[in-house]
């Protein structure tokens, strides 16, 4: 496919492209990761091209899921003028799921993304972030033991942003001085028309990509080997979630959990004094805050078909429970049943919102 080459760092190249789009009035805003100072990262909706100096789209950190943020922006009505969005593959897949859930609209968005090496967990960014970034940049994507790398990223096999309009092949190259934009869609071609860069023909490097995929798949098998059904069970779940504060921060940070008032915060889910008395009587004791495991399994029921394995949930958990790892494991097996890959295809329905007449016919009849 058509590609544009610049001898600039990825961040600068993205900056140049966005600047061009602003100057040509092709976009009214850019939505991209920004940095205020060495500790303050956030997504910015930028309308003034002079603020582009704050952008840092490839810094390996995800303070919140861009998919979730974009749903805030587009939930009530679609955008009427084009904006450019720079986001990571899992964030884009989350956004697609939110579109299916009618929480977001894709209109008038130019999606720019890149093959993703993963992000450093936000808690790990609190100290020595600069050194961690350095190690991250120096090492190839096949190196999974980078300091602070999210566990969910280490095992993510969907690091190619299939649906983006413009893709930067970052991790196959690991080149900080040159950048390539793969112009994947016609829409993208229109946007980049006239942008000064060397035009070449280039494809995604499938050999490199499958090498990385293989490495991550192996890592995933390793991680999942510790959370097999026989190692879990209620005892295993209590070992993992035992220290849960029931703060529901994981759900609030999860891009898929969009509900304004989560069921598990609602009055519906609360039981009264009679039930507490009865359970204290049968069990001899009652844990408080109540219903932690209920919350997690319940949330799995609600979102596991759409979970894109981003690891936001683990990142914000105040007691560092590996929520994302468990959810990713459950998601994988749930999605497998319905042969569903969340965020892949905007037309594909979320399995729980549809059905087939002739399926699972053995169930219910025996």
């Amino acid at each position: 496919m058509k590609a544009l080459k610049l001898s600039q760092s990825p961040d600068n190249a993205i900056g140049s492209l966005l600047k061009y789009l602003f100057e040509q009035n092709k976009i009214s805003a850019a939505f991209v990761l920004c940095k205020n100072n060495s500790r303050d990262y956030f997504y910015g909706l930028i309308t003034d091209k002079n603020l582009l100096e704050k952008i840092t789209p490839t810094t390996p950190i995800m303070p919140s899921s861009a998919g979730k943020m974009l749903s805030k922006l587009t939930m009530l009505e679609p955008l009427t003028s084009p904006i450019a969005v720079v986001l990571r593959p899992c964030e884009m897949r989350a956004f697609y799921e939110l579109i299916k859930l009618e929480q977001a609209r894709p209109d008038n968005i130019l999606f720019i993304s890149f093959t993703c090496k993963g992000v450093i967990s936000i808690k790990e960014s609190k100290d020595g972030f600069e050194e961690k970034i350095e190690a991250y940049q120096k090492n190839p994507a096949t190196e999974l033991t980078l300091p602070g790398l999210r566990q969910c990223c280490q095992i993510c096999e969907n690091f190619v942003p299939e649906n983006a309009d413009i893709i930067l092949p970052l991790i196959e190259k690991n080149d900080l001085n040159n950048t390539t934009f793969l112009i994947k869609t016609e829409k993208a071609e229109d946007f980049v028309q006239g942008f000064e860069a060397e035009t070449v023909e280039e494809e995604l490097n499938d050999t490199e990509i499958s090498k990385i995929k293989e490495k991550r798949a192996r890592k995933k098998a390793e991680v999942f080997a510790n959370i097999t059904p026989d190692k879990l069970g209620m005892k295993g779940l209590i070992d993992i979630f035992g220290r849960c504060l029931n703060c529901h921060a994981c759900g609030r940070a999860c891009p898929i959990c969009y509900c304004n008032l989560c069921y598990f915060d609602s009055a519906d889910s609360e039981v009264g004094p009679k039930a507490y008395e009865a359970e204290t009587e049968t069990k001899g004791a009652y844990r408080l805050p109540a219903n932690t495991i209920f919350y997690h399994i319940g949330r799995m029921i609600h979102i596991s078909l759409s979970c894109i394995g981003c690891g936001m949930c683990t990142d914000v958990c105040p007691v560092s429970i590996p929520v994302g790892t468990i959810f990713t494991r459950v998601a994988e097996s749930a999605q497998e049943v319905f042969k569903y890959i969340p965020g892949r295809n905007i037309e594909e329905k979320i399995p729980i919102l549809t059905f087939k007449i002739n399926e699972f016919e053995e169930i219910g009849e025996e």
Partner: protein, 141 residues
């Protein structure tokens, strides 16, 4: 003294088929274990998977969801949705290493009093063999 274990099973019965089927079984004086605590729902698809989860985590020994046979749902497609939900529910339980055979989905029509009796009897026997739901005594849920 050995106590015999009599399972308590929450039964979500769809109003149009299974509840009528259960009623017929009763009126026909068919013998079956008194293990079901019936809850009438308008359609099997009214059964939110969280109902099942709540029942199991709060200690009921099993959950039966019963509705019209595929094609016969009075809201046309309700039970196809139910089927997917149960599949998903079971898959999640299986992946977490939790018991999946304490939940059963059964299609029982209004005229199938006998089938209702069979389903209840078999399911109760099965749960009896398994023993009480261990979560009943679990504190740290």
């Amino acid at each position: 003294m050995e106590q015999t274990f009599n399972p308590r099973i929450i039964g979500f019965l769809c109003n149009w088929c299974s509840y009528a089927g259960a009623d017929l079984a009763g009126v026909s004086r068919l013998q079956m274990p008194p293990s079901i605590i019936p809850i009438r729902v308008m359609c099997s698809s009214r059964v939110d998977p969280l109902f099942i989860l709540t029942a199991l985590l709060r200690g009921s020994d099993a959950v039966l969801v019963a509705g019209c046979h595929p094609g016969d749902c009075h809201y046309q497609y309700g039970n196809y949705h139910t089927r997917r939900r149960i599949v998903l529910f079971n898959k999640i339980f299986e992946t977490l290493g939790l018991e999946t055979d304490r939940v059963r989905l059964a299609w029982v029509s209004a005229s199938e009093g006998g089938r209702y009796r069979d389903v209840v009897t078999q399911f109760t026997e099965h749960i009896k063999e398994k023993g009480p739901n261990p979560l009943k005594k679990e504190i740290f849920l």
